[in-house]
Subunit: 709 residues, 2 copies
């Protein structure tokens, strides 16, 4: 065991440094028993060559692992920055209090049996939280597997992980300790080096957001990986992640997609917004990359940790085997990447370097007997082509070829071209030397071409995130007081589901046009109104008995004259009046437009308000073609929302249709967002549909529902 001087920088202002950059560590519960958690932590600290002193704390033993042990933390003569707690759960609180007395700055509580174990555990957790907060101690855990910081001047492995992490440029926080263990093992095996690691457990104090911030400020971290089961504090996460994602890629595996289940809700918007769509939208808005699996997270991390983000999407594939070249092409195109068009010069240089039968276009097939020299020449040609942003080198090792030499050729090309270079070494069993050479040179190596393509596409996706303009927070002149008055009126009348005039008032206050309408108590009134606003008109049955009017054939559109209004009025009254004595019949000016769209807002228990956009009718209801964003949205978000649906071409003017006023739709989404910000009592809102044409002056909401919380 080597001992060097203590970590150079003492914990400064940022209290999270007490956890990740402690000058000294106490291990409370450092047992003499082999394979006990405390003993493993102690071993990891010592074998990991922690740069400060480590103090075993054990109530019953005087020596643990040949080190002097203390009965309590407060017995230690020297200062203690960090205490790792691995004692039985009933002793944790006493230990925390003792640590507070001693002036310990950070706790990593490994012990389980807190909130996750029922009411009693939750009480224990609350007490721990209070003790730590009072003493100003930062806490990771409880119920976690520890933390790691591989910085040379710290070398902290305060975990009971069985695998020693390699130092590197990836930082990782996980809400599952078990997954943390597995991931450290995999990282090592895949050659992914770790800068900082934290298993965050029950989040009594330090959250995922705190860690993202800490990793973001860590100059040794190039990539941030997260495994999350919940966001904890979505708004703070959003703020932090949005800024940081422009500096460093953040890759998240977010689980719990299926467990949430759809909430029961009265409106379309409410029922469509499941928890996962909110998580998905939040990440998208922040520019955080979501990996669909842990394996995919590693696939991405290897690329981000080692290679520059390519300037564009144009990929050159250089291969010595046709089949894998085609697989790589398929996968690249499938991920939305472009196959680079080689310049005439490149094609010429390639042709000169290749034998007959080889392909001098993209993918460049150097054929099976390609040696390192042929790879070198081909890569040099492709690497100097200004139309190439990234290079994917695919190599299948024939018995006749010197694989390590090919690996060196690829590594040299990556170095000299400066272009993003990824390698796929297939059938790697015998190519371990080649793989090692590439890893050493910082060229990520994949086993299958599809993985390499997936990694490359993640780099390009990140570039698009990073480079998209920062959105602006747009505010319009609105009449908040008018909206509030309308809400108060409805509340006083005992209404919480607002329709008709109630909603119209609120929308008007926010500059969102609604189609003129009245509730006609008799057919005469209906005819009079129709004459006033002009034909054609629409007649609608309003009832609390049926949520969707079309289900009961309760809407008559295109009524062109008095006779038609009369006939429709009588039909609805007779047919539906039987089903609801309080049936109301609304006459409304018929709005002409090119498209019907739905705009909505709903409140997610975890993420707060969400905004929804989609095309009306079957598009939302049957095809589920919607775009969702987490409130608040910027102008960029609004523009993206409108364009995110599959049916967008219908708004842009597909097949002889006139394009609608898309800017108006964006503005209306922003006005909705402003309404949600101003009026906290709005729990759900459906504008379904808003009819819109070429010109905003004719656009109007023809049906709306608003639920107060």
């Amino acid at each position: 065991m080597k001992r060097k001087s203590a970590p150079s920088d003492p914990p400064p202002g940022s209290s999270i440094d007490a956890l990740f950059r402690p000058r000294s560590v106490a291990v409370v519960g450092a047992s003499r028993r082999r394979h006990s958690i405390g003993r493993e932590v102690l071993r990891n600290l010592v074998e990991g060559e922690f740069q400060g002193p480590v103090f075993p704390v054990n109530a019953k033993a005087e020596v643990v692992q040949s080190m002097k042990a203390y009965a309590r933390v407060s017995d230690i003569e020297d200062p203690v920055d960090l205490a790792v707690v691995a004692v039985p759960r009933q002793h944790v609180l006493a230990v925390a209090k003792d640590c507070a007395r001693k002036g310990v700055k950070g706790l990593v509580v490994i012990t389980a049996g807190f909130r996750e174990a029922g009411r009693e555990g939750a009480e224990r957790e609350e007490a721990l939280k209070k003790t730590a907060a009072k003493a100003g101690m930062r806490v990771i855990g409880p119920n976690c597997m520890g933390i790691v910081n591989t910085a040379d001047d710290v070398r902290l492995n305060a975990s009971f992980a069985a695998v020693k992490p390699l130092p590197g440029r990836v930082s990782f926080a996980t809400q599952s300790g078990a997954l943390g263990e597995a991931i450290l093992a995999d990282a090592r095996e895949l050659g992914v080096g770790i800068s900082m690691f934290a298993s965050i457990g029950n989040l009594v104090d330090v959250t995922a957001s705190d860690l993202v911030e800490a990793f973001g400020n860590d100059p040794r971290t190039d990539v941030i990986l997260l495994y999350l089961e919940s966001f904890g504090e979505p708004r703070r996460f959003t703020q932090i992640a949005r800024e940081l994602a422009r500096k460093k890629p953040i890759v998240v595996v977010k689980s719990g997609r299926s467990t949430a289940g759809a909430r029961a809700a009265a409106s379309h918007t409410g029922s469509l917004v499941g928890m996962d769509i909110a998580a998905e939208s939040l990440l998208e808005q922040c520019g955080v990359l979501r990996a669909r699996s842990v394996a995919e997270m590693f696939t991405m991390a290897k690329a981000f940790a080692n290679q520059p983000v390519p300037a564009g999407d144009r990929v050159a594939i250089v291969t010595n085997a046709g089949g894998p070249g085609i697989l790589a092409t398929d996968a690249c195109v499938g991920h939305g990447l472009e196959l680079a068009e080689f310049s005439a010069r490149t094609t010429k240089r390639l042709a000169a370097a290749l034998p007959e039968g080889a392909a001098a276009q993209n993918p460049a097939d150097l054929i099976a007997d390609a040696d390192a020299n042929r790879f070198s020449r081909a890569l040099a040609a492709v690497g100097s082509d200004a139309g190439v942003d990234a290079i994917l080198a695919v190599f299948v090792s024939p018995v006749t070829t010197d694989a390590p030499a090919v690996a060196r050729a690829i590594a040299e090309s990556a170095e000299s071209s400066g272009k993003t270079t990824l390698a796929c070494f297939m059938g790697k069993e015998k190519d371990d030397e080649g793989v090692a050479i590439l890893r050493e040179a910082g060229v990520p190596v994949y086993r299958f071409p599809e993985e390499a393509a997936a990694a490359l596409s993640a780099l390009c996706r990140y570039r698009r995130f990073r480079d998209r303009p920062r959105g602006k927070d747009v505010r319009f002149e609105v009449d908040v007081r008018r909206a509030r008055r309308a809400i108060q009126r409805a509340r006083r009348a005992g209404r919480t589901m607002l329709v008709g005039e109630d909603v119209g008032e609120i929308l008007a206050a926010y500059g969102i046009p609604t189609a003129p309408s009245i509730v006609a108590t008799d057919v005469g009134q209906a005819l009079e109104f129709a004459k006033e606003v002009g034909y054609p008109v629409v007649l609608k049955a309003e009832s609390e008995k049926f949520a969707h009017k079309t289900d009961v054939d309760g809407v008559r559109v295109g009524l062109k004259n008095g006779d038609e209004v009369f006939e429709a009025y009588e039909d609805l009254r007779k047919r539906l009046g039987r089903r609801d004595r309080n049936l109301k019949l609304r006459v409304q000016k018929q709005i002409k437009g090119e498209a019907e769209v739905i705009l909505g807002a709903a409140t997610d228990p975890q993420f707060g308000p969400l905004l929804l956009f989609g095309l009306g009718g079957v598009h939302v209801e049957v095809l589920r073609d919607v775009a969702v964003r987490v409130h608040p949205i910027s102008d960029i978000d609004a523009a993206e929302m409108v364009r995110a649906i599959k049916g967008y071409p219908l708004l842009a003017g597909a097949r002889g249709k006139r394009p609608v006023d898309v800017e108006f739709l964006e503005e209306t989404l922003l006005r909705l967002s402003q309404m949600i910000a101003d009026l906290e009592e709005v729990a759900e809102l459906d504008l379904n549909p808003l009819i819109v044409g070429e010109d905003r002056t004719t656009a109007a909401v023809v049906d709306a529902r608003l639920r107060l919380s």
Copy 2:
């Protein structure tokens, strides 16, 4: 080197046995040079312990690898069943002729430089093909890496693969030799054993279909894997695969998705049918599982080779770690599997076996300190629950637990429950012993829970394929001669793109109704026709100048009286007559229905005729929501097509709409299929739209185009 008696069964009737079950093998081009291809083949044969004699053939050496060498195959005194040819390309034909003289029954031609290398190579290939066919020799290759049969009484490794395949129950054919090499290496590393393997090269004789058939008949093969770049003979493949897929799972990686590109075509159907959608449909129709990547193919193969297909989709997850349990749940639900609901008895037994804080529901979380005993009891409880079809055991190895003991508990549960069991051993580095125990016991082990879930979903998908009813070939009474006459008339008049009456005739002959219409040469004729069929009518501009009438606002619907017809006629005539002097104006009875659908047929260069179904308008054109099947289709295919589109709820009666006559749509698809079978000259056909309501008697095609080849 061991030598046993020659393979017991001599090549019988089935000539492919000459390749995979030879009694003796000659290696032509067996060089003295190390790492030469011929030398590697010889070494693999000998080290693989081929059960018959191996004869090196080398024009220049008398001894190769301590074995007597022959100058020519015909110099060998003993009979030769199989010759592996690895001589320079210019000598291949002479060798083949010599083999024919000798009475060799099968050739594996490894040498490259044939069709893939240009015109001269193609000629060489043609000559080889003829020579072999004349002599009745079956040929694999040229341009391949060889074949393998691990059957104990054969032990044939006639390849130059660097990796020795493990014997096992997976057979594999690959169109890319390089991928074959990589895949054999991966198979070995992943513990996937091989029964038969073939790198099929240029397919001069033996095709993928032949191999699927051979693998299907091989009693040692449980799973068939294919890597294909093209199908070669899609119809034969379909026939063979359809039958075999009911007996053994077939998993395909089909590449070349992106390289094909969309064909230029005049009709919707034609332009929508890209090569990949055809491949996708063909595989789906045959019940062949498509893997999206080579890695996914292995994920599936490991499960198929070792575990039974589960009787249902209900999965029990048993885990010692919450996070991975959630990931497994997410992935299972994401793949369409169900989380089993445990019976009261199971829940009780689980609760008894688990400590406080553990979860006795599904996923069953045994928490981190679960030992082998707790796993055993939980797995026994879950394994005997009649509501559980498959078990996914997820284990993260804490330092404190005996991982091999847990592995044994899982293996025993798999054995005793008889239920499909898959395991995920995370952070496997230190658990290699556990992984080995599970593999030995035939329980596939995955690294990540998502992979295990993907494998399980493949098993369930296969069960659905296997168990779906066999479709029937349905034929209707039609008037083929009437259709042929209509085609002849059009041909004589020089028309190949048929519209209007031409198509109407053909459709009528096949019992497909079209809306009554005429081309009105003046407005009087239009008015007369409208009066005859009854209002409302539709007026349409027909012109070769514009393919899509709606793009030029050339369709007027809902004309309710003479005035409206007059006005519309004059407008179209004036506005569009300028653009096309040969403009025709068609008056058509307006068909009332609930939905507009598109039915179509197009010819794919590789797959032959394809059939298409979709909802009309934006559904096909903008949202690309279509179902495609390869001709011919069965009644089951037709039923699946109609239901395969996302918009199907609109046909089944979503949101207050009346359901349409779906059976009529199925029948019309089958009638189209029959037409395609009868009339080979139909290259493309669009029925766009067919309007259909509740009752077939009112349904009719209102626009159709048919292109003759």
